[in-house]
């Protein structure tokens, strides 16, 4: 699977309701050493309810400047949440009609996490 298979893909819950679009993926570097860095592992997907356009990084932090820009982007992406990769039904296992192949389906009882990253 490629990153571009996930980005912009529509997201549904287990009942087929549209939840939004994948706007980013979050990786964790906790795998075995691969060269100088630990191998990355896919931690989860960022899902934005209304738009697949870029959030320009304002979802990661509490950064608020320039204020007008931050407010506008937050407004466009209001309700953005993080779902863990373990809550995603792999697209190749997803049930449903074939034209639905591009969509990402979440398990029943998935949890919506806050997309902000804790400050180090």
């Amino acid at each position: 699977m490629l990153l571009s298979d996930l980005l912009d893909a529509p997201v549904r819950d287990s009942d087929g309701r549209a939840l939004g679009y994948v706007v980013d993926v979050r990786l964790v570097l906790d795998g075995p050493l691969d060269g100088v860095l630990a191998a990355p592992r896919l931690h989860g997907l960022l899902v934005s309810p209304r738009t697949g356009t870029s959030f320009l990084g304002y979802e990661r932090t509490d950064e608020n400047s320039p204020a007008l820009l931050a407010r506008w982007l937050r407004h466009r992406h209001r309700g953005t949440f993080l779902v863990l990769w373990s809550d995603v039904v792999r697209p190749d296992h997803a049930p449903g009609p074939r034209d639905d192949e591009q969509a990402v389906t979440l398990r029943g009882g998935y949890h919506r996490w806050d997309p902000a990253l804790p400050r180090p």
């Binding site: 980005l7 912009d8 356009t53 870029s54 320009l56 304002y58 400047s65 320039p66």
Partner: protein, 409 residues
């Protein structure tokens, strides 16, 4: 002493490096048709490029990331990719115009057909890119470009009616016989000439080439805030010369010989020779910068190793990309297009593409995770938002104005 020298060198090369074929042609064309009534746009453009270059230089110095690495990171592969295509196209177009400018200047100096000079100019650009160290190529062309100050000398020698010029500048009106859309079309062109995107790719990647760190931020700010406005004054002098010589005679500027005519009228052969030297240096310097920028943008987006500080064998794809860009620009010119026309289009397309690079830089310059204590202050952000609006409006207005006026008619 060494430090003063470094500061002086930085400022001087910023002045000499400010003017390129886009500024030369657009200012002269505008001066001949609209007098000084569009000088305010140069002012707006110079403040804009100071703001933008200063932000991107600071981001590069502090976070170690050049412009297109940030665009790739913030915009993702798809929008970032569209951004790359647009920016790359504009940069190659500008490179084409600069190589054409070198050939035109050499034609003026030698009376040998420009088409014979074009392959030579392209080859010379590539050889310098291949062989010459970054700091040398930047400083030599920047310092030689300072001879463009002869346009300011010429303006004084021509002995214009200063009151009339100042009056045109501070109370701008659309001259009789010119339409209002044409006035605004040239306003966008002049804005694009002052704020070409490649300057920012080059500036931020150059910060990496010269291995700037947070300590160099104040030096780079000084270079920009002193050098660019003085470079802007050279632009105004070029427009002024054209306004004095061509506006009263109702002659349009369509060739490089016309751009230098006021200098020849005012100071004869010697001044003209200096002007041609300055134009060769300015266009050659800008050709190097744009060619480097094509390599920088592609390599940074695609994650290739890049930089003049690496030997060509260690950055093969970067050097290949630049070679291809230079060859493409040269071939386009050999189709016998008019370099002046290419220039006029390149500055307008620069204005169209500008928001694509400006927005990500503005955002990252505010990110504390990247920038720590060097994030934008309140004043910079206020100005940054004002310019975001100006840049977006100019970008959106450019194509309708181009169609409405038949590209300036």
């Amino acid at each position: 002493m060494k430090k003063i020298f470094a500061v002086a060198l930085g400022v001087l090369t910023a002045i000499g490096g400010f003017v390129d074929i886009g500024d030369l042609v657009t200012n002269a064309v505008v001066g001949a048709r609209f007098g000084m009534s569009l000088v305010w746009v140069v002012l707006v453009g110079v403040v804009g490029i100071c703001l933008f270059a200063q932000m991107s230089g600071r981001v590069a110095a502090v976070s170690g990331r050049a412009t297109f690495e940030i665009i790739r990171e913030r915009l993702g592969p798809r929008i970032g990719g569209a951004n790359l295509v647009a920016s790359f196209f504009v940069t190659v177009l500008t490179l084409t115009a600069e190589i054409g400018g070198i050939a035109l200047a050499l034609e003026l100096a030698s009376s040998v057909e420009r088409r014979l000079w074009i392959p030579f100019a392209g080859l010379a650009v590539w050889l310098v890119l291949w062989r010459v160290k970054f700091s040398v190529l930047e400083n030599v062309t920047g310092l030689l470009g300072l001879t463009l100050v002869v346009f300011a000398v010429a303006l004084f020698q021509l002995g214009p009616d200063w009151g009339e010029l100042v009056d045109q500048a501070v109370r701008p009106t659309v001259p009789q016989g010119e339409g209002v859309p044409t006035y605004w079309y040239y306003a966008v062109a002049l804005f694009g000439a002052a704020m070409t995107p490649y300057e920012v790719f080059f500036f931020s990647s150059g910060a990496r080439e010269e291995k700037w760190t947070a300590k160099d931020v104040s030096q780079s700010r000084l270079n920009v805030l002193v050098g660019f406005p003085l470079g802007g004054l050279l632009s105004v002098a070029i427009a002024g010369c054209a306004a004095v010589v061509f506006l009263p005679r109702e002659v349009d500027v369509t060739s490089l010989s016309q751009i230098t005519l006021p200098v020849a009228m005012a100071g004869g052969k010697l001044l003209l020779a200096l002007a041609i030297l300055g134009i060769v240096a300015a266009t050659f310097g800008a050709a190097l910068e744009t060619a480097l920028s094509t390599g920088y943008t592609l390599a940074q987006f695609l994650g290739w190793s890049w930089g003049k500080y690496r030997r060509p064998a260690e950055a093969t794809r970067f050097h290949t990309a630049m070679l291809v860009a230079v060859v493409v620009g040269t071939l386009v010119l050999l189709t016998n297009v008019d370099p002046i026309a290419v220039t006029e289009y390149s500055v307008v397309f620069s204005a169209i593409a500008l928001p694509l690079t400006y927005l990500p830089i503005l955002v990252v310059a505010n990110d504390r995770e990247y920038m720590g204590e060097h994030v934008n202050g309140r004043t910079t952000n206020a100005l940054g938002l004002v310019y975001l609006v100006i840049i977006v409006v100019a970008s959106l207005a450019a194509i309708p104005l181009m169609i409405a006026t038949g590209a300036g008619g």
